[in-house]
């Protein structure tokens, strides 16, 4: 990469936004995975009061403009936000920090995992879950031994989609974490920055890198889906 150095602005390497992007998308996917699958399990279990509202709330980040999400997040975790004083006491600062970018991306990718997991869990043959119950299985065992393994492909596909989407997160991240080179500037933000400042060569390079990265994720996902087919038995 040394021969590319002249076209990069001084003090900013290509590695920084790539690593930051992977870290933010990875952590956001990790958190969303547990929250999304948990919520999907809860909603898929059957009718209860307020189910429709919970379902709509879980899917909401998918349809709201990212700027609206960013605004909500600022109201929630900003310095003067609802949880602001509490976070400050705990020594956590989410505004203009890479942790803030993780929070933003987590909320944005959550519905992708939730939706995929719910559809996958609901498509599992219920008589298998019933069979497990008559065989003495607790609800937890039914979930980890029957529902989850059989819904695994759908959940995995949703998770990979979430990771890819997390790498491209722009709006909410910009609102919450800003656009600080080397600190909160992910690939998507760096591309916008380079383009705005007329640095077309760098923008092109970053676009190419992002494309290759996303393509690799999709290919890797396909690979893993094949390997994982029988890992539950």
């Amino acid at each position: 990469m040394s021969d590319l150095a002249p076209i990069l602005p001084s003090g900013v390497s290509l590695a920084a936004p790539v690593m930051l992007t992977l870290r933010v998308a990875g952590l956001a996917t990790f958190f969303s995975f547990f929250a999304g699958v948990g919520a999907a399990w809860f909603v898929a279990r059957g009718p209860f009061r307020g189910r429709g509202i919970i379902d709509a709330l879980c899917a909401l980040p998918l349809v709201l403009p990212p700027t609206v999400l960013g605004y909500y997040l600022i109201l929630l975790v900003g310095r003067r936000g609802l949880m602001g004083p509490w976070l400050a006491e705990a020594g956590i600062n989410l505004m203009f920090s890479w942790q803030g970018a993780v929070v933003a991306a987590t909320v944005v990718v959550f519905p992708l995992i939730y939706k995929a997991a719910r559809a996958a869990l609901e498509s599992v043959d219920h008589s298998l879950e019933r069979a497990a119950r008559t065989l003495g299985a607790s609800e937890w065992k039914v979930f980890v031994r029957v529902s989850l393994p059989l819904a695994w492909r759908g959940i995995f596909a949703g998770t990979m989609l979430a990771f890819a989407r997390g790498m491209g997160e722009f709006g909410a991240t910009l609102m919450l974490a800003g656009n600080l080179p080397g600190r909160t500037q992910t690939l998507a933000l760096a591309i916008y920055d380079a383009f705005q400042s007329g640095n077309d060569a760098q923008a092109t390079l970053l676009v190419a890198v992002t494309s290759v990265l996303c393509m690799s994720v999709l290919l890797l996902a396909e690979r893993l889906a094949h390997c994982g087919r029988r890992m539950w038995s």
Binding site: D125, S127, L128, R130, A131, A132, R133, T134, L135, G136, A137, S138, W140, K141, V144, R145, V146, P149, L150, R230, W232, S233
Partner: protein
């Protein structure tokens, strides 16, 4: 002994349906016979705890599994995992992602994953007993229909249930195999010694298994019959069942 006295309304779309099942039997094999949609499977689900009756009582060998009556007796509703009944589903519901061995052992695992030493031993015994040892490491999709049926029965028996619930045990088999398996299945059932509640809409099954016969007509049960007595003097089981269903249709409700 099994006692079932339950009612359950299903609102659903289309016409409303009310199940009223009422029978008591000491027999080792009770057959519930009726057209599809007459409430047989719902009864089985209620006994297993997979569906909840609106009111009534279900007991097996004096143990109350469900009780919700207006007489002020304490409400009982034991969750399915503690009812200790073996349920063989119509399509067997074998776990497609687990091998035959793990399917059979599923109910004996301690915690969500581990199968203890006694568990493994019991699985081996069952695999031997049902002659499915040679397919132990295959998946349900890779074995024959008859083998699948035996795996399902072995899995249901693994937890030493006090009652077996068999939902149309032969409907998933092709007709030629069905005949052969019926004999084989009957002797397996006899040898394992667990009483069974069998539902079917096939008169041949009634012929082969019924000791006590309970006929369903439009969601209601006729008084239980001793099959041998009811059958004697009738030219065939089919005619006998037709007569009973006709009789059921005119019973005032």
């Amino acid at each position: 002994m099994i006692e079932v006295r339950i009612s359950r309304k299903l609102a659903g779309c289309g016409r409303p349906f009310t199940l009223r099942a009422d029978f008591t039997s000491n027999a080792r094999r009770v057959v519930l016979f009726g057209h599809s949609g007459s409430g047989k499977t719902l009864t089985l689900h209620c006994v297993a705890g997979l569906a909840r009756p609106d009111e009534g009582v279900i007991t097996i060998d004096g143990r109350t599994l469900f009780n919700a009556q207006a007489d002020g007796s304490p409400r009982v509703d034991i969750p399915p995992r503690r009812r200790n009944v073996g349920y063989m589903f119509q399509d067997y519901a074998l776990f497609p992602h687990l091998t035959v061995r793990r399917n059979v052992g599923f109910g004996m695992e301690r915690g969500p994953w581990r199968l203890g030493r006694e568990g493994r031993q019991r699985v081996d015994e069952l695999l031997d007993f049902f002659e499915i040892g040679h397919v132990a490491d295959r998946y349900p999709a890779d074995i024959s229909g008859g083998q699948r049926q035996r795996v399902a029965l072995a899995r249901a028996l693994a937890t030493s249930p006090s009652l077996l619930l068999l939902d149309e045990p032969f409907s998933a088999l092709d007709p030629l195999l069905r005949r052969r398996m019926r004999d084989e299945f009957g002797s397996l059932l006899e040898r394992c010694g667990v009483p069974a509640l069998i539902i079917t809409h096939d008169p041949d099954d009634v012929d082969a298994f019924a000791q006590t016969l309970v006929v369903y007509a439009e969601g209601r049960t006729l008084p239980p019959l001793d099959f041998a007595t009811a059958r004697s003097g009738m030219p065939s089981t089919v005619e006998m069942l037709e007569g009973l269903l006709l009789e059921g249709a005119v019973i005032p409700r």
